[in-house]
Symmetry: none
Subunit: 200 residues, 4 copies
DNA sequence: GATGAATGAGTGTTCATTCAT
DNA sequence: GATGAATGAACACTCATTCAT
């Protein structure tokens, strides 16, 4: 019954199951035993692949961070036309994909871990700095094109990230189901305001 | 050793210690045993007061939520003068006090719990709805006074909360230590823009 | 809310609740805490009345033993007529009342305790010896009257008790619901056979 | 210290120790910790083999039930000669072996458990139904041979079981040590009477 | 008479981990 | 590559009991 598989197949499978449990039960409920039971394998086999729960967590965080990185990469514009670049940026930032990429519950668990685990902290920091670098670059281009107000692009990026991350993580607490859709277009307009374009 | 105290003294002391550990070690590390050891008492004494870890958590969350509630309450303006009200609102929203009221690490742990614990979820939801109600009211008053653009105040409140909560919770990831101070005045200006006043 | 009562009222109430739990959850589940919770009083109050779980158990056993004692007492014939005495004896031994007097589950728990608790053992022994003395006396009278075979009345009593106790305690395992009623008349005939009367 | 064994050796060893404690301390005193201490191993090792106290109990009950099953099996006659079959049956039913197979204290504990544990209940029921099926079959053969009175063999089996089980379980309460031996021949005669043979 | 504070041992169970096979 | 044996610490929780009020 127990098929013999190699690390390349098993490891991602373990990571996937671990992340599922992380989402369902939080970090306080995510144990090696549960992952093993869910996969129908022996706990020691997980130790065999990851040697420590710590490294399992790190690799799981890496997986999440990687997904976000891919997304940021995909936001990169394929055109030099400033107007289209602005539209594309806005569409991506408030778009479905970005908000769906990972379960928010996992985000909270991971960030929760980051306070005590320097390795996890480093990874999140690196992700956000990547994000910020991309955004500032994009804003600078738009400023150069005169499409948005010329100001310190890094600061503007931080403002944007505040609003976007705040919305992504807390919306389910204060945005009613009903208004979620129209809220998105509000958000677009708000971004434009923050960046300073002519009018609404 | 067997010092005798009563519930009014012991319970908050236990809660305080529990929250300290929650911040230091996260929900996955916050155990009754550790709280007891830290206090130099027996774990069963904690059960005596809270009967369940669940209720200990709930009461701890209540404690946090209460603090935020007090803060929201203190934001309430003592004046009818619209201009002063606006200034006061801005000062509070980006002020130190609001950002210091509780350790952000505790916030993440608590929200992390809220995904699986309906009681905790209810409490956070109640808090945010209180927050939103207060903000919309305040915005409506400012709209009536013609100080900010007249728009659906609830939606505007949600936008504001997105940005503020995003900043509060994620700033340490993307705002450099150096810029934190000046970022605050940026934030104020951003708020004014979102709400639509004459110019910068 | 908590009324002040005196020992004469409280003690039997505690015993009653303890026995209920003993039946429902067995000796392994019958704790002072549960009794207290069920009664809405503090566990220490039970200690106040019984000072030890041991004495609580003993008094509970006493209560059960007492009930059986009353029953045996009630079997005593009010007539000197030997034929009526025999009929009455048979009717009682297989009668409903005797089989209903106490929950069999409690019997098993109590006997289970008796193996390790000499006090409980003494009480059960005393009860059975009372039972045996009564039965032998009755049989001797019937022998003297020539209604049943003349043999060592004590031995005959033991035989009878074997069969009756066996039926009482194990019938639910091997007697089908359907046959339980007719089994009773079978049992009566069986007793007569054991005691040696003319025919069936 | 860390002697390595396998399940085939350890599991029965654990079961044996558990049953010993069950007899000595009753179900209320039979804990995994005590079994572990007695064996000089860690409690978690017992969990490793049985994963739950419940399954440990079930397997222990299975062990007891199995022993009885073997005994019933051994009662099966090797001859077709009715007279020898009857003698053999009588000898077995009142014989030492049957009464020694398991500590009566364990019986009471197990039956005590059966009231709340459906799995245990099922097992005891199955055992008794096996026992009854065997006895009725045997009685029918003897009836066919004209050695005992022709009556509903199932009912007669139930009567027999009542008496035998009653004797087995309660004899130590009402049968004096002195009389135990002669009681056995009394019991044989009583059985014959119940089954209806010519005379005593 | 009754409650609450406090203890300390003990409950079954989960956990990550090590090691031999 | 995979399993199973074994550990030891930790977990939340229950228990009977003591003592002060």
């Amino acid at each position: 019954m127990r098929q013999r598989q190699n690390a390349e197949l098993r490891k991602p499978e373990i990571l996937r199951n671990f992340l599922e449990i992380l989402v369902e039960e939080g970090i306080e409920g995510a144990s090696i035993g549960k992952v093993a039971k869910r996969m129908g394998i022996h706990p020691s086999l997980i130790m065999h692949y990851f040697s420590t729960k710590e490294t399992l967590i790190i690799e799981a965080v890496d997986h999440i961070v990687h997904e976000y990185g891919v997304l940021i990469d995909r936001m990169k514009p394929r055109t030099a036309d400033p107007a289209r670049r602005l539209r594309r940026l806005l569409d991506t930032l408030v778009g479905d994909e970005w908000h769906r990429v990972s379960e928010i519950a996992a985000d909270f668990s991971v960030i929760s871990i980051s306070f005590r685990n320097p390795e996890v902290d480093r990874r999140i920091r690196r992700l956000y700095s990547l994000y910020k670098r991309f955004l500032s670059g994009e804003l600078r281009a738009l400023m150069d094109a005169g499409l948005i107000e010329r100001r310190d692009p890094a600061r503007r990026a931080e403002l944007l990230m505040s609003m976007l991350e705040g919305y992504r993580h807390f919306k389910h607490f204060f945005v009613s189901e009903r208004s979620a859709k129209s809220f998105r277009s509000d958000m677009k307009r708000a971004i434009l305001r923050l960046l300073g374009t002519g009018g609404d």
